[in-house]
């Protein structure tokens, strides 16, 4: 290969390499992206497809008004951002600046300088959570109790594992199942009788203990695994728990599960299917847990979790890795 690298008119060659076609300009790329978004939006708000005619949904979406509305909206947003972008952000900026003059921002600075104010807000939030649901319909109250409170509890727990300890645990919900089944077991609702039937409130620490044991059982084989392996093993563990719960008929009641679990009762008061007393119970539990976990975050264990999250290898010699994080 000769060393002669002479090129006719190197400047023009270089210019051609740098040349960006009109459709590759960032502006047009953004337009393309917005158009694609418009099309996806049309499909999303279109008719529900049915299996008698698999093209039904696509046909109605793309031959109707929806398509033009969604694509038009997308193109309009693109146009505003491209051509009026600076002026709109100026307007927005001045609105935000005007907002800064409002009490909102003064409140924010007050919060920073007077920590006691946080307590006031927290109590206000608590009162809102306790009394606002009376204005909602029964359906939304059920949603609050069934779904909102349960997911909040689960999220608090998940926050510890994934947020603080940085462990990619995809099978966290398996512990939800373990806790539920142990609660059912110790209150005598499963086909197998427990040695002693406990009150619902006493079952909670026992269920926590069972989950602890399950966590250790899960942790033992996975101690040596790194992030992504941990993810798939916990996912596998979760599937195993699900399938065992569904199939071990004699012990877990199979897909029928445990019915007629005794209601919570303490000091003679029994929680029935009434939603509001149950909501108060759940809010109390959530508040207690939040307080406990906030204290835990700044304790020795919490700092250990933070160390693990930041860098497991560096943390290993100085911290007992992974103890008790599940």
């Amino acid at each position: 290969m000769s060393a002669d690298v002479s090129v006719k008119d190197p400047a023009a060659r270089a210019a051609r390499l740098r040349h960006v076609a009109w459709y590759q300009q960032p502006r047009m790329k953004r337009l393309g992206a917005m158009l694609a978004l418009g099309v996806v939006l049309t499909m999303m708000v279109g008719e529900q497809g049915n299996t008698r005619d698999i093209f039904y949904s696509l046909e109605t979406s793309f031959t109707g008004v929806n398509l033009w509305v969604c694509v038009g909206l997308a193109v309009a947003i693109w146009a505003v951002r491209e051509f009026a972008g600076t002026s709109v952000s100026k307007v927005a900026g001045s609105a935000v600046a005007a907002g800064r003059a409002l009490p909102v921002d003064r409140v924010r600075t007050m919060l920073r300088t007077q920590p006691k104010l946080k307590w006031v807000l927290a109590v206000a939030g608590l009162l809102l959570a306790l009394f606002a649901p009376y204005n909602l319909t029964g359906y939304w109250q059920t949603v609050l109790v069934d779904q909102v409170a349960t997911y909040a509890l689960l999220a608090i727990g998940l926050n510890v594992v994934i947020g603080w300890a940085g462990l990619l645990d995809l099978g966290f919900v398996a512990f939800f199942a373990v806790g539920a089944y142990s609660a059912a077991f110790w209150t005598g609702a499963l086909p197998v009788d427990p040695p002693v039937v406990l009150n619902n409130f006493l079952v909670i620490p026992v269920a926590v203990l069972t989950c602890l044991i399950a966590g250790v059982l899960l942790g033992a084989p996975t101690l040596r695994l790194r992030g992504d392996y941990l993810a798939i093993v916990t996912l596998g563990f979760h599937e195993i728990v699900y399938i065992v719960a569904k199939n071990a008929d004699g012990f877990t009641g199979g897909s029928a599960g445990a019915r007629q679990i005794p209601k919570f009762s303490a000091f003679g008061y029994e929680w029935s299917l009434e939603r509001m007393p149950y909501w108060y119970l759940l809010v109390t539990v959530i508040v207690v847990l939040i307080i406990v976990f906030v204290r835990l975050e700044h304790s020795r264990v919490g700092r250990a979790w933070t160390a693990i999250r930041e860098d497991e290898v560096a943390a290993a010699p100085t911290v007992w890795t992974r103890c008790g994080s599940s």
């Binding site: 951002r81 972008g85 709109v88 952000s89 927005a92 900026g93 935000v96 204005n135 909602l136 319909t137 029964g138 359906y139 939304w140 059920t142 949603v143 069934d146 779904q147 569904k246 199939n247 008929d249 199979g254 897909s255 029928a256 599960g257 019915r259 007629q260 029935s272 299917l273």
Partner: protein, 386 residues
């Protein structure tokens, strides 16, 4: 800058809007003279064909009653969707309970949701008349307002067992359930009856939503059973039937009302040829009593009535009859008491309930898939020659 501002503004607005929709709620308290009949069943998710059949039946009944014009009140329809799942059933039931106009519910359609929702209906005093929840244990749990408008699986399982034992004289029966409430209930009854008749039973479970049935089909063939019972729904019965055909299974095959739907044939094609299907329901297209119903149904919905459409229609009409008797002051308690004691001669059968909520008459009918169509054969007791 603009992107961040958009996001900062959009998110609170969206959350606020969602929260406000919750507060709005349906606060129309019973505006004098309008009542609702609700239907709970799978209208989305899996096995929706069974829910939609009943939904249309109830709709037809309500529309006809309104059109006839002899009601002292206006009747409306409220469908609630529980996706056939026990977890979703409580919220769906709550929706019906919260609406003060709802006087009775036709449903829940599936046995699993009934288990979860019936206690709620009981506490609210709202009658739940199911046209298809066949698990035998449902009436043994002491639900206060549950009435079963369909013969339960004790009859269905016994019917299957009798047919195999007496008519087909099967020696070994391979019994498969799909681990749902319905499947397990049906399989338990069938097993008991078959053993009582002296037939050898191999009982296995193949859960619903198994992606690949080849191994299960291979097991059936290797076990040399000459008859098969599948207790489950059509969405899984169909691939199972297909794989059985591929594996070379030549014996008899029977399944229950969860598989008795034209979609079973659509999904599995020729593999369903010769399958028996039982149902505590009659075929609305064939019976002379339901010919007019079928014509009206076809005119309104442009499809043929399916499994339990006529039964749901009958139950809705039973509710309407009792409501008429109560005049224009209908409330849930009185309607429940009336329905508990009522007798109604419907198109499909005569409805009257015993004190547990079970139907007094327990008839099971047999169908067979021939040439890609489900053909009505007759009452199973007569066919088995017992």
């Amino acid at each position: 800058m603009l992107n961040k501002t958009i996001v900062k503004v959009a998110i609170p607005v969206v959350i606020g809007a969602l929260a406000l929709t919750g507060c709005a709620g349906d606060s129309e308290a019973g505006d004098g003279g309008s009542y609702k009949i609700a239907f709970q069943g799978p209208l989305s998710g899996d096995n929706t064909a069974l829910g939609e059949n009943e939904d249309k039946g109830v709709r037809l009944a309500i529309d006809q009653a309104n059109a006839k014009g002899d009601l002292p009140f206006k009747l409306e329809y409220l469908p609630v969707d529980d996706q056939g799942l026990p977890e979703k059933a409580t919220a769906a039931a709550q929706k019906a309970i919260d609406d003060p106009d709802v006087m009775a519910v036709v449903g829940p359609a599936f046995s699993g949701p009934t288990n979860s929702a019936a206690p709620l209906f009981g506490d609210a005093g709202l009658t739940a008349l199911s046209a298809s929840a066949t698990n035998p244990t449902l009436t043994e749990q002491g639900f206060k307002t549950f009435l079963r408008g369909v013969p339960n699986d004790s009859a269905q399982g016994a019917g299957m067992a009798t047919y195999y034992a007496k008519k087909l004289k099967a020696k070994t029966v391979y019994l498969v359930d799909d681990k749902s409430d319905y499947g397990v209930g049906l399989a338990t009854v069938a097993e008991k009856e078959l053993k009582a008749a002296g037939v050898k039973v191999i009982k296995k479970s193949v859960p619903a939503k198994t992606p690949d049935y080849s191994a299960a089909a291979k097991e059936v063939v290797n076990s040399k059973a000459d008859a098969l019972i599948y207790a489950g729904y059509y969405q899984d019965g169909a691939p199972f039937a297909k794989k059985l055909d591929e594996a070379g299974y030549k014996g008899a095959a029977i399944s229950g009302d969860g598989t008795n739907d034209v979609k079973f044939i659509e999904l599995a094609g020729k593999a369903t040829e010769g399958w028996y299907l039982t149902c505590p329901c009659t075929d609305a297209n064939v019976e002379s009593a339901t010919k007019e119903f079928t014509a009206e149904y076809k005119k309104k919905f442009k499809v043929n009535p399916g499994t339990y459409s006529a039964e749901a229609y009958d139950l809705a009409n039973m509710i309407i009859q009792e409501m008429k008797k109560l005049g224009d002051k209908v409330d849930r308690q009185s309607l429940h008491q009336a329905l508990q004691k009522a007798t109604y001669k419907g198109l499909t059968k005569e409805f009257s309930f015993d004190d547990k909520g079970e139907l007094k008459i327990q008839n099971v009918y047999l169908y067979q898939v021939k040439d890609g169509k489900i053909e009505y054969q007759g009452a199973i007791e007569e066919l088995a020659g017992s």
